[in-house]
């Protein structure tokens, strides 16, 4: 029987070139095919040829996301041993495990783009790569756990839902799984918040105080406005929405849900402008955002140091695993 793979191609060179990204073509033409494919809504797999700009763009984006999942559990882990009930402790432990799991999934996506995991950990600790602003702040009370799980995760999920349609298919697939798990966290956080606002005056006050402290970082979280046409991540459809679109979406869904609980928001300018169909708010403190994400936040160094120590303390496990596998081979 004839091996079908041994037959001459029947597609014309143009038709083959259109299916990205024919290695017989010169680089510029491959680039054009790739760009047209992505702009038309096409997907890219890790084994496909891709321009360096695209590869580094996806890598930077996914690596920052992975770092944020990894570092994001540190504020919450501070409350594992102080959770008020066994059920809350179980839920918070499961959430912490989920977030570390998300980091594992995302580092895996990033590794396939060519950067080893150990190099990503090195860069995180050296301050060469970043993690999200909200994970550089202290947690002061149990109410912080409710606000983080509900509103920080909500702000994150608004961004993450838009990533399920990323042009980089392995990332898009991973985001589907992650969004599903994050929706559980939001319910856990909202339950903590609703429980506290229906509790004692002291609990309500504790929650309001936490919300007042977190509102600034929450408004900064998606980043400053930037023109759509200048954003290369949007151009390559790595992400789908601008910072401002994400912030507006977050406000539209969550401001009413916060207000219905009788809580207040610490921004007298915050209101929906029905004529414009968008939210007005006091300009977030972008200098604070820059300070914090360059690891000059209140808890940046302490959390990085925790990460550094835990990496060293578990090094023997990774080395033992590799040695055992080497000996068995």
């Amino acid at each position: 029987m004839t091996d079908p793979l041994s037959l001459d191609p029947v597609l014309s060179p143009q038709e083959r070139g259109r299916l990205p990204f024919n290695e017989d073509l010169p680089h510029d033409e491959r680039f054009e095919h790739f760009e047209a494919h992505v702009l038309a809504g096409g997907k890219v797999e890790s084994t496909d040829w891709m321009p360096d700009e695209y590869r580094t763009g996806v890598l930077r984006f996914v690596e920052m996301h992975a770092n944020s999942e990894l570092m994001g559990v540190l504020p919450e882990r501070e409350w594992l041993m102080r959770a008020p009930t066994l059920r809350r402790k179980l839920a918070l432990t499961a959430k912490v495990q989920d977030e570390v799991g998300h980091a594992q999934l995302l580092y895996r996506v990033a590794e396939d783009l060519g950067k080893p995991r150990e190099a990503m950990f090195d860069d995180l600790l050296a301050g060469k790569t970043k993690f999200h602003n909200v994970f550089h702040y202290p947690t002061r009370s149990w109410a912080d756990i409710g606000v983080i799980a509900w509103l920080v995760d909500a702000a994150a999920i608004v961004a993450q839902q838009a990533l399920r349609d990323s042009s980089y298919a392995p990332y898009a697939r991973t985001m589907k799984k992650i969004c599903w798990e994050e929706s559980v966290h939001i319910m856990h956080g909202r339950d903590v918040v609703v429980t506290m606002v229906t509790g004692t005056d002291e609990q309500r006050a504790m929650l309001q105080e936490a919300l007042d402290r977190w509102w600034g970082p929450l408004m900064q979280m998606h980043g400053p406005r930037s023109p759509r046409e200048k954003d290369r991540d949007l151009h390559w459809r790595i992400k789908a929405k601008t910072s401002e679109e994400l912030r507006q979406e977050f406000l539209t869904i969550y401001v009413p849900r916060i207000l219905e609980l009788g809580l207040t928001l610490p921004d007298s300018e915050l209101r929906r402008d029905d004529d414009l169909g968008e939210w007005r708010y006091t300009e977030p403190d972008w200098q604070e955002l820059r300070t914090v994400v360059t690891n000059h936040g209140p808890k940046s160094q302490e959390r990085l140091e925790f990460r550094r120590v835990s990496r060293e303390e578990t090094r023997w496990v990774r080395e033992t695993i590799l040695r055992a596998a080497g000996a068995a081979a």
Partner: protein
Amino acid sequence: MSDQGAAGPGETGTLEPWEVFRREKEGDPMRHGGSVMAPDAQLAIHYARELYGRRQESVALWVVRRADVHELEDPDLLQPPLDRSFKKPGGHVMRDKLAAARERSGQPKPKAREG
């Protein structure tokens, strides 16, 4: 305990990607879930269980060394440019011809089958 862990420097294992497939519920096909890095199948299964099965979202998992997957991606063979509509149910359109046949035979259109 044996001293299996005490291998020399030249005998260190290496991490490699393993593809993870999961069956969501009894009777479903295996679907690709993602991948894990592991030095062997035993640890790959362990990681796969943690990442793709810890909240009862899978009833079975497969892990396959990525290097053992054989891929066919040739568009000539998978997406040939010739008309293959005759291989699909939707490729056989006969509504108008059926109407003409009924008109010629004088028979009414059969009622939809009752399930």
